[in-house]
């Protein structure tokens, strides 16, 4: 028995007549509130659900709501950057010209910047600005570890995304930062990253690698153990390289740790909101349940669920139940079209069944969201979003009437 069946027949029919049968007014107000009031909105979700596109659309909405907005993405969706007219490898955020799609009479107070995280510009700048002296910075640039790290992708993005978030947050250049999290199998992975970084940057751990200086008994023991292990497995050059690098970076690591700590505190504060972007996948419900529970346990502010690319709001008229009048209203159809309709029928039936499933899933998400949070279904716009116009259509579907008319 689906939730769909439990609703009174008349109510269902009424809603369907209005074309808007999901009744999402309250959820829309809640999302609008999030975009108007929060400083950081984090889009979480498993890989392939459309996080990057959703983040970009929320950014557009934020700008239309009058906020200076930045969308930070870690996903290498170059095509989206291309579509927005953005260079994919810019060292700094780039302005998106949203005004060209907004009618002239609509005055836009906000703005939209877009940035794909480039770990190395941030890393370099961090060293430049945080080193004790320019000479120290030069010495760091010359170390073998630094040189190798420049080619390292693994792990660096997560670190530098955190650091750049700190920079943008603390400089207050933006009212709203929409953060697109890296693709992962599990929506929770991203939430674990700051803790892991913090534990790593714990200076007590890094000091173990630093050139020796007088310190406590336990630290010395740990250092001895590490030294013997690393000497055996990595060769002496690794240890001396690491010691040189860590020695020069120790002060920077301390600052980095403070920054990471700030980021973690801000993400857990009411200034932030975490949204779960999900696709109409059978596993979506399980994932949503898990995500909600973990956020609750860790006291991380949860906004709501965004059911992406669903047919939940699909028109309910069935292809199969075409009335005779309807057919007549089309006049005489050419022969080729009649054949085509015959072939289309099973596909339309499939479409109908899918929309029923998505509708059911949507209502389960609404139940799960309860009164504290919300669930909003973004329609399947029938195509991948490939340009700014597409993003505007998605914004219009999420928050109607935000933009007077899409040009």
């Amino acid at each position: 028995m689906t939730l769909d069946d439990e609703r009174p027949k008349q109510q269902k029919a009424d809603e369907e007549m209005q074309g808007e049968h999901l009744n999402q007014g309250a959820a829309r107000d809640a999302l609008r509130g999030v975009l108007q009031n929060k400083r950081i909105v984090v889009c979480c979700g498993a890989g392939g659900v459309g996080k990057t596109t959703t983040s970009a659309a929320l950014g557009v909405a934020g700008a239309l709501l009058g906020r200076k907005t930045l969308v930070v993405t870690i996903d290498p969706a170059r095509r989206l950057a291309d579509a927005l007219g953005m260079p994919a490898h810019a060292d700094t955020p780039q302005r998106v010209d949203i005004a060209r799609l907004v009618p002239e009479q609509q005055d836009i107070q906000g703005s939209l910047d877009f940035w794909m995280v480039q770990p190395f510009p941030i890393f370099d700048e961090m060293i430049r600005t945080l080193s004790a002296s320019p000479e120290d910075a030069e010495r760091i640039y010359k170390t073998r570890i630094y040189q190798a790290t420049r080619h390292l992708v693994a792990g660096m993005q997560e670190y530098m995304a955190g650091e750049s978030l700190f920079q943008f947050y603390s400089r207050r250049t933006y009212d709203l930062i929409v953060l697109d999290t890296p693709p992962s199998r599990n929506a929770i992975d991203f939430l674990n990253a700051p803790d892991q970084i913090l534990r790593f940057l714990d200076s007590r751990i890094l000091r173990v690698f630093a050139p020796s200086e007088s310190s406590g008994f336990f630290l010395n023991r740990a250092r001895k153990l590490l030294n013997s292990v690393f000497e055996q497995v990595a060769g002496l050059s690794f240890l001396s390289d690491t010691q040189e690098f860590v020695g020069l970076m120790l002060h920077i690591f301390d600052t980095l740790q403070e920054h990471a700590d700030t980021v973690r505190r801000v993400l857990a504060s009411p200034e932030s909101s975490h949204l779960l972007v999900t696709s109409p996948d059978p596993l979506a419900l399980e994932e949503a349940l898990y995500f909600q529970r973990v956020l609750l346990e860790r006291h991380i502010p949860f906004g709501g669920f965004l059911l992406n690319r669903s047919l939940a709001d699909h028109p309910k008229h069935s292809f199969l139940s075409l009335s005779a009048e309807k057919r007549e209203s089309w006049g005489t159809l050419p022969m080729s079209l009649q054949d085509a309709f015959e072939k289309l029928e099973p596909l339309a039936a499939h479409e109908y069944a899918l929309s029923e499933q998505h509708f059911d899933l949507y209502h389960r998400l609404v139940m799960l969201a309860g009164k504290q949070s919300w669930a909003l279904a973004a329609p399947h716009l029938g195509e991948d979003i490939e340009d700014l116009r597409g993003l505007f259509r998605l914004v219009d579907a999420l928050l109607p009437r935000l933009v007077a008319a899409v040009a």
Binding site: P76, P183, D384
Partner: protein
């Protein structure tokens, strides 16, 4: 170009020693036949499914990528020992990995499927799809049948394995792993998780030095999505710079030895016939070439069924332009058009970048749970690219 390497020596291939029931140079490969079959999604419910179809290829024009039909010799996927499956998030990597594992097992191979994970907290979908207990929480192979095993590999498992191999006593390794300092460093230092995973894979890939035989005939690796997969394959370069000597360097070099060898390793990129996944596939293939990982092929999953003639698609499109939101079916039609465009882009890209074996799986609507994995296997068993030639 690694993919070109597949074809470079076509003429001399007969001279290569053939293993077991490998390719028989005297037997021509049969032209491709249309197939029908199903695959179910991981929860086993009444869901979307996929079918291999030749019809679509035929309609899409001259698919020279589909070289089997043109008499070009196909490099058999399972002639390789290590098959790495990757692609954009949500395209069906794990399901394809599981089906490939079952097919290889059916062909008489000893198969190991590897699930690369951060930790063992959440259940393993791969293990579930292969018929094992998904909550198995040990970092060691779980024997599902005499033919198939599945292991969940973690960075921590790799780090521990490394210490066991390097320090004289297991107790010492255990003590080191219990050290808060060391484990924090290993889990958070950039690249060290990936390094652990690579190290953990090695024992399953290397051959026994005494017998010269590998433990498993085929090792299928369910890699993470594009970005993280490439983070893994691009790891050796910076790490060889950092580690000038010692066993870590040796392990990375050993991994490179296997992963760069077209006879040992092949990457399979799974994608969907949609614009963004296709774009990402090209980025993925570029990245794999840059990192010198041989590309074994591309599998396009969930291609919508297309029953229409060209003229019918055109007239339906015109109809929907004037009759918006009157009847259902427009969404389906647009999806078909999008899929055709995506396939054409793939074809064009392959023409420019070098040919890659391509397998297309058509979507089907199935009512019956349970029958699907077997049906997908049937498709794969008929597929010359995957088949062991008789």
């Amino acid at each position: 170009m690694e993919s070109d390497a597949l074809f470079a020596n076509t003429g001399s291939r007969g001279e290569r020693p053939l293993r077991g029931m490998g390719w028989n140079p005297t037997k021509p490969i049969q032209p491709h036949k249309p197939f029908r079959g199903w695959i179910e999604r991981s929860d086993g419910g009444r869901l979307l499914a996929c079918v291999v179809g030749c019809d679509l290829l035929k309609e899409c024009g001259s698919w020279d990528v589909r070289f089997a039909a043109k008499g070009v010799v196909l490099e058999k996927l399972f002639d390789r020992r290590v098959i790495m499956v990757t692609g954009k998030g949500g395209v069906g990597k794990t399901t394809i990995t599981a089906a490939l594992a079952r097919v290889a097992a059916k062909q008489g191979k000893r198969v190991l499927a590897l699930d690369l994970e951060r930790d063992l907290e959440s259940p393993s979908t791969l293990l579930r799809l292969l018929g094992g207990p998904d909550a198995f929480r040990k970092d060691e192979p779980y024997v599902i049948s005499p033919q198939i095993s599945c292991a969940r590999l973690t960075p921590r498992g790799g780090h521990f394995q490394f210490l066991i191999d390097q320090v004289p006593f297991k107790m010492m390794a255990q003590a080191a792993m219990n050290s808060k300092y060391l484990t924090r460093f290993l889990m958070a230092a950039p690249g060290f998780q990936e390094l652990g995973l690579i190290y953990r894979m090695l024992p399953y890939i290397r051959k026994d030095p005494k017998t010269g035989r590998a433990h498993y005939d085929v090792v299928l690796v369910d890699l993470p999505a594009t970005g993280h997969a490439l983070a893994l394959t691009s790891l050796p370069k910076p790490f060889l710079q950092i580690f000038q000597g010692g066993p870590i360097r040796a392990a990375i070099e050993e991994a490179q030895h296997y992963f760069y060898d077209t006879k040992v390793t092949g990457a399979v990129a799974v994608t969907l016939p949609e614009p963004l996944p296709v774009s990402e596939t090209f980025e993925l293939l570029d990245g794999l070439r840059r990192d010198r990982v041989p590309i074994a092929g591309v599998i396009v999953n969930r291609i919508p069924q297309d029953p229409f003639e060209d003229s019918e698609r055109q007239s339906l499109l015109e109809f929907f332009l004037t009759h918006r939101n009157e009847v259902l079916g427009e969404w389906s039609l647009r999806r078909i058009l999008r899929a055709r465009e995506a396939l054409e882009r793939l074809q064009q890209g392959f023409a420019e970048q070098g040919r890659v074996p391509l397998l297309t799986l058509e979507e089907q609507w199935v009512e019956q749970p349970g029958a699907c994995m077997a049906a997908l296997m049937q498709i794969f068993l008929d597929e010359p690219w995957l088949m062991q030639a008789a």
